[in-house]
Amino acid sequence: MAGAASALFLLDIKGRVLIWRDYRGDVSAIQAERFFTKLIEKDGDPQSQDPVVYDSGVSYMFIQHNNVYLMAASRQNCNAASILLFLHRVVDVFKHYFEELEEESLRDNFVVVYELLDEIMDFGFPQFTEAKILSEFIKTDAYRMEVTQRPPMAVTNAVSWRSEGIRYKKNEVFLDVVESVNILVNSNGQIIRSDVVGALKMRTYLSGMPECKLGLNDRVLLEAQGRTTKGKAIDLDDTKFHQYVVSYFKCVRLARFENDRTISFIPPDGSFDLMTYRLSTQVKPLIWVEAQVEKHSRSRIEIMVKARSQFKERSTATNVEIELPVPSDSTNPNVRTSMGSAAYAPENDALVWKIKSFPGNREYMLRAEFSLPSITAEEATPDRKAPIRVKFEIPYFTVSGIQVRYLKIIEKSGYQALPWVRYITMAGEYELRLM
């Protein structure tokens, strides 16, 4: 079962090695490069696109970020899930260090890159990927390196995500409840899939080693505490906690939530995702879009779209963007809308309808006309069947009805901290298939 990576490669868009770190001396960079460049050349073959591929004794696992490929090679039966996820974490670490991870930033910082590669993985085993803690002892600013560094306590401490001795004048916590609505509507107008993925995102500016206690209106949680569940209580399908969630008593952590659903934790400094949850109950589409496409003769296409907001009037959706697919060779757009503006984006084969503010329970219309080339190719290749995609944000509103009932901050110095809580709902993968 044991297994580890043999080497980690950072490659450019053509698959050439930019920087690599050999952890075990059993793979060759030349061989890896040769294999990988060939792999990305043959685009069409679906087998070649798998993120895990095997070639003469070596398994390669890779992800892409901007113009850089990150690839791990292994000769063993290593944990593929762990290694691929690790690669994504490496991206996060590099982004933390260089703002953006791309070919240029790697070249510009190769010394730090080598240092990081040495620290985050040892002999092919992932070690430590918390960017914030890493940056406490691996600095980009060369001059500060003159001071001898010690490993921060956090690297090996039980509370590995927070260093001691943090101090703020004003102690504040910001908690954002962000819900993304994923929905898939088929061409008959049936909702075939919908779920809500929520995240509790925090930014903390707290001194010392505070312990936070969070109360939610989760039904299981309420019932466990012996409260009646009248009024608003919700069922969360699957909750995920970040490493930080920990009760102050070392022995029970996730186990404690499993038992009595108490969420208590020592927060890291700065911003982090405390918890994510998923809700798979059927939700009514918040914005419903109906489109009618009519092909008049062979040279003209007409699209009529109705968009309706299906939430209460007191809420308002902002930055609504409805992307309507149109045939790829459409020209001469002629568009009228009852609200907002629409622009043709030929690069995406789409008409993008933007509505800045869309109050609840309203309906807006769009009518567009395009010319099509009168000559069409003989083969009956089907049109690209892209769905209608919708983006929006609805502040002060959650689909699940989740509510933060309390957020207590306890620190031994006894300071008062201000908790700020916001709610927002946005569109995630929001797709409506065309007729």
């Binding site: 895990v52 063993q76 560094q149």
Partner: protein, 935 residues
Amino acid sequence: MSGHDSKYFSTTKKGEIPELKEELNSQYKDKRKDAVKKVIAAMTVGKDVSSLFTDVVNCMQTENLELKKLVYLYLINYAKSQPDLAILAVNTFVKDSQDPNPLIRALAVRTMGCIRVDKITEYLCDPLQRCLKDDDPYVRKTAAICVAKLYDINAELVEDRGFLESLKDLISDNNPMVVANAVAALAEIQENSSGPIFEISSHTLSKLLTALNECTEWGQVFILDALSRYKAADAREAENIVERVTPRLQHANCAVVLSAVKMILQQMELITSTDVVRNLCKKMAPPLVTLLSAEPEIQYVALRNINLIVQRRPTILAHEIKVFFCKYNDPIYVKMEKLEIMIKLASDRNIDQVLLEFKEYATEVDVDFVRKAVRAIGRCAIKLERAAERCISVLLELIKIKVNYVVQEAIIVIKDIFRRYPNTYESIIATLCESLDTLDEPEAKASMIWIIGEYAERIDNADELLESFLESFPEEPAQVQLQLLTATVKLFLKKPTEGPQQMIQTRDQLPIFICTCTVFKHSSQSVVTNTNSCLQVVLNNATVETDNPDLRDRAYIYWRLLSTDPEAAKDVVLAEKPVITDDSNQLDSSLLDELLANIATLSSVYHKPPEAFVTRVKTTAPKTEDDDYPNGIDTGYSDTPTHVADGGTSPQTSSSSAPYPAGRQPAPPPAAPAPAAPVPDLLGDLIGLDNSAIVPVDRPEPAPAAPLPVVLPASTGQGLQISAQLTRQDGQVLYSMLFENNTQIPLDGFMIQFNKNSFGLAAAGPLQVPQLQPGTSARTLLPMVLFQNVSGGAPSSLLQVAVKNNQQPVWYFNDKVSLHVFFTEDGRMERGSFLETWRSLPDSNEVLKDLPGIVVSNVEATLDRLAASNMFFIAKRKHANQDVFYFSAKIPRGIPFLIELTTVIGNPGVKCAIKTPNPEMAPLFFEAIESLLKA
């Protein structure tokens, strides 16, 4: 925080190396640091800066941590190529491992472990011992991994110095990160060792489960993966473990979740209470579903695993099929996997929705995905009897879109549906026939022809349809030709002939029915006569005009059947076909068990057991490298079940047998193969025996005496002792063997057999050993041949041999092939061609190895000895106090080895560098040269 390191890449002035050398030796700290950065930059872009080794190492003694790290990095890269100089760094390493700063202590021990040079390794032991007991957990966690590094380089050293015990102690460390790394190291060592090193007791288990809570996410993965090997004693313990692991399902890290799922599934096998199992299934579903919101690459791994999980426990996700519906922007590899799982989860309850989805996908643009979607509809039809009709109507709708590849794919699956539900849906044949002329892919064509042949009696114009294919018969692929042949015969048998017929003797003296009135195939005669002319054309084409032995054989068989006994022909050709079944749960149970135990690992992604792709495992078993490596995605049923009496719809062409010369009469079976071996089932259990080189014994041959290594000790051979070694004499490879009979009975009838091996070594003739009386011995020289039964995979020196006699069971033993017995007499190279060959081979073909224990004291004698083994001396030069020798050698099939030996005469240590077009042979070469030099 962006840096400006790119400036270090830009020094490309002439004389870069001397310039760097100067800067490295500068008295100014900053200048030295910049110089080291430039060196590392040069190394990064692939320039060879190994000549600066001494100068860089001189910068190692510094307070500056950044500079130190860079020098260490340089060492990791170049120590191998400068092993003698690497020793210069040892002092600093040892000193750094005692530095007051734990970062530096850890760095030193971590780096030393990465330098895979034997000399350094010896010096690593003391610092490592100290660091394993360091006060700082950061140092201890680094040291724990370092033990695994050392084990990889020198396992004995680790065992001798008691590092394993120290490592086991770390399992009880109070720091969870140290515990996790110790577990990872132990698990790795266990993997590479034959003995029990890391056995998990219930006590360890409990300790580790407690540590789990506080580990980093990666540490949790190490621990869960290691613990999944644990076998609980009973159901109660299993339930206990599961209870403690379940909270991990809530972790944000997908790898932790998958490893927890693996462990729970393992323990569930033991749990008997159905309530508990049901409850666990319910608990696992949401986390598994959530994995599908992860990054696409992780989704891919998750989906490959879910594919396995639903095969074992379909209930877990039975109600979640919707989450596997494809999103428009899913990468194609995710879509393909989702489709596979949708088929597995499809049931009578959800089939309508699933079909709507498949139909949607079948009109997308990605051709491979579309094809797979169409195939999925067919697979559902075969799996769900009650839904078959709905599936077919969707397929018909798709055919009406008239997109070429959709139609072809649909016809292929409809053929399978007909096989599954005979005499049910034939009414749609007319619709299918409309698309006949758009078919251009062999499989689709073959399927359509099969349908026409199979249902010839219901298709009025079957003969016309088949005829339309006949014109191009010679150009069709074999698959289509075979189908045409069979379909024509079926047609002939099904539509009974009415017209006058007579027996005709063809030029092959094979009688055949043929109508006198039809000579031309395009005549507007009755259906019956037309059929016959079709048949005549096809049979002619398939016998006289083809080179394909399969086709010809089948044609002749039909021909003879038709001419001798038409009723028998009917029985054979129109025989009832076995019903096919759905194979969407295709993995067999034992493989599935193994894969489930490997959840989250590469094995579970490939759907192959680890041995199939891991080549590094240290075992004596021959490597079984699988050539058609993972493609478990689509193993449709359509190509297997159709091999039936009538030839099926997708027969395979055999390319193994050479075609007969065209037109030759095949009638009598070819002369029986070489007389059957006297003991036909001898050694049948050896892997892949195919040549029957088992031969009786008659002519003994005494050979000059020299002690041979014992390969089968008397204790193993029940008194029979065999010593043997491969040798080379006069350009011939021989297996020199000595048999000693220490039993109480005479032994006779000795035979030998070699298993497949990297060189394809096999006996060239019979083994000649006389009857051996008790207490006597016999020597023999067995001539060998090469390239007889070559095994695939990386070259290995392993030679597996089996010997049998009439009195004892079969004895198996392993011998080692030393490469030098293959060095051919014509391996001498001229200086010029040596240099040219050396230059023409890329650097990647150069392999280096140190032979530390070897001393060359007498040059002449060494050269003579090497020459005797066909390793030819070419040139010699002096370099400092070292002597450099160049040799050439060649092995069969003209593979040259160019060899460079560097040594100080009379001192231990030889550096051997070789260049060859086949660098994978290098390890074998080094073994050989080491033994030659030692001798």
